[in-house]
Amino acid sequence: MSTQTVVREGTILPPGEVVRYNFNERLCHWLNGVTYLFCMLTGLAFYSPYLYWLSFVGGGPASSRFLHPWVGIFFFVAMLWMHALWKLQMVATPEDQAWKHGIKNYIENRDDLLPPQGRFNAGQKLFYWVMFYSAIVLLITGVIMWFPELIAGTAHWLLPIIIFIHCAAALLTIGAFIIHIYMGILMVPGGLKGISYGRVSEEWAAHHHRLWYEKIKKR
């Protein structure tokens, strides 16, 4: 069997590697990543005068303002795709509770004291739901902010509330995003490979997601 045709998540490859994410999952993740990053950087430009220079990401302040809502729509669509792919796997499971109790051990890298985890641990699930619900809030408030002139005459009082909520939800995602980036790049070596081209070592799978590893091993 050629390694090039690997599609299915959980496939065990000859050199001791397993497929962590299939191509659709990887593509979906990076669509989310790129559109979110664009919206975050251009959004930060409008958030603070000290970060106004970040609007170069969108080709200048005015074009950033023009593109931000459109890319936001793409982000939401990508989020819906991700939801279709992962919503069942992001549902809370019994082992999540034990993991949450042992979160101190997870943070301090005493992984041997942690309960075995499935394909996604409780932290990953939490990040997913924060992003998913925030995306809904950002979409609803964002559409109103896109065309404020339509309600400025009749429901002007609504506008500042909408902006406040949009800003607060965006800040919440940024907090989650900082942790996500740190863990993906620095804290969990091998994780970035998994989401980039899909392959992780069998040891990595067994260490971080033992229940998932045992399940795919039995297939």
């Binding site: 303002r65 002007h156 902006i163 040891e203």
Partner: protein, 293 residues
């Protein structure tokens, strides 16, 4: 513009004090609109369009003397008309020249995220600088009078400039120039306040408008456009002039506590994860023991 630095301070061998010395110049400008003498002729609307180079646009007839329902990006000045029925069954035709109020504490400027898109001059004029405008319309959100208007073609926001170009050259705004009844006045803020008070007193003393007064709302630090109203307690009758205009509280909360909370959160987040890396480092996967299920 007179150059203050070149004002004479001392004169050699001059008997007595310096002529004109110790005179302070009042730079604050103000437009006074006396709604009690406005006849709704719309000369100011036309003068505004002419000076600012906009073509006259289609009007809307809705059985009133109002040109159209609202101001527009290329129609900055509108006489709002309201037929008010008094308690005794008599009618009042209330005319109010609606335009930017040039607040001392401008909500548009507070809300604007674009560097240099809104400026407030020392004379009190609040001006939009369209070349820096990004079209986000946060100013629309911040304005308690719903004045800034969006041009969907250029994606820029426009409003009354109080003819900053004319005032800068020592002229009065175009609308003032055109008013045939003299209900519009232009001068220093102190002079206009004084004139407005006198007119309100005159109305109280010599007419049946015993509740006449001046509209110069303190809730936004006063405005550089002030009104004389027949009834100072009911500004909302004049086409929805707010009684206590304020920058929306949510704009203040968004621009101050939320922003600082967000700034601290982001910096603490980045510092926190880096500190974690330094303290605990990455998660190491043991090659030998892990693989066995």
């Amino acid at each position: 513009m007179p150059n203050e630095a070149m004002q004479i301070k001392a004169i050699s061998a001059h008997p007595g004090p310096v002529p004109g010395g110790n005179v302070s110049r009042d730079y604050d400008v103000c437009k006074l609109i006396d709604t009690t003498t406005c006849i709704g002729c719309k000369a100011c609307e036309v003068a505004c369009l002419e000076w600012n180079g906009y073509e006259f646009r289609e009007t809307t007839f809705d059985n009133t003397y109002q040109t159209m329902p609202d101001t527009a990006w290329n129609y900055w000045n509108l006489i709002r008309f309201n037929e008010h029925e008094n308690e005794d069954g008599t009618l009042n035709w209330l005319m109010r020249k609606d335009q930017c109020m040039h607040c001392a504490d401008p909500g548009c400027l507070e809300a604007c995220p674009a560097d240099g898109a809104i400026v407030q001059y020392a004379n009190g004029i609040v001006d939009f600088n369209q070349e820096n405008c990004i079209g986000c319309q946060y100013c629309v959100t911040g304005c308690p009078f719903n004045i800034p208007k969006f041009n969907p073609t250029t994606k820029k926001v426009f409003k009354c400039t109080l003819c900053s170009d004319r005032v800068g050259a020592g002229l009065e705004p175009a609308c003032i120039k055109s008013c045939p009844t003299g209900c519009l006045h232009f001068g220093s803020k102190d002079d206009m306040k004084d004139l407005a008070q006198k007119r309100a007193q005159q109305l109280k003393d010599h007419t049946s408008y015993h509740n006449a007064g001046v509209y110069d709302p303190e809730t936004i630090g006063g405005t550089h456009v002030i009104y004389v109203l027949h009834d100072k307690d009911h500004p909302e009758r004049y086409g929805g002039l707010p009684k206590d205009p304020r920058i929306p509280i949510m704009v203040r909360l968004w621009k101050h506590p939320l922003k600082w909370l967000g700034n601290i959160g982001m910096i603490a987040g980045i510092a926190g994860v880096l500190l974690h890396y330094v303290r605990f480092g990455p998660k190491v996967v043991d090659k030998k023991e892990e693989k066995k299920p």
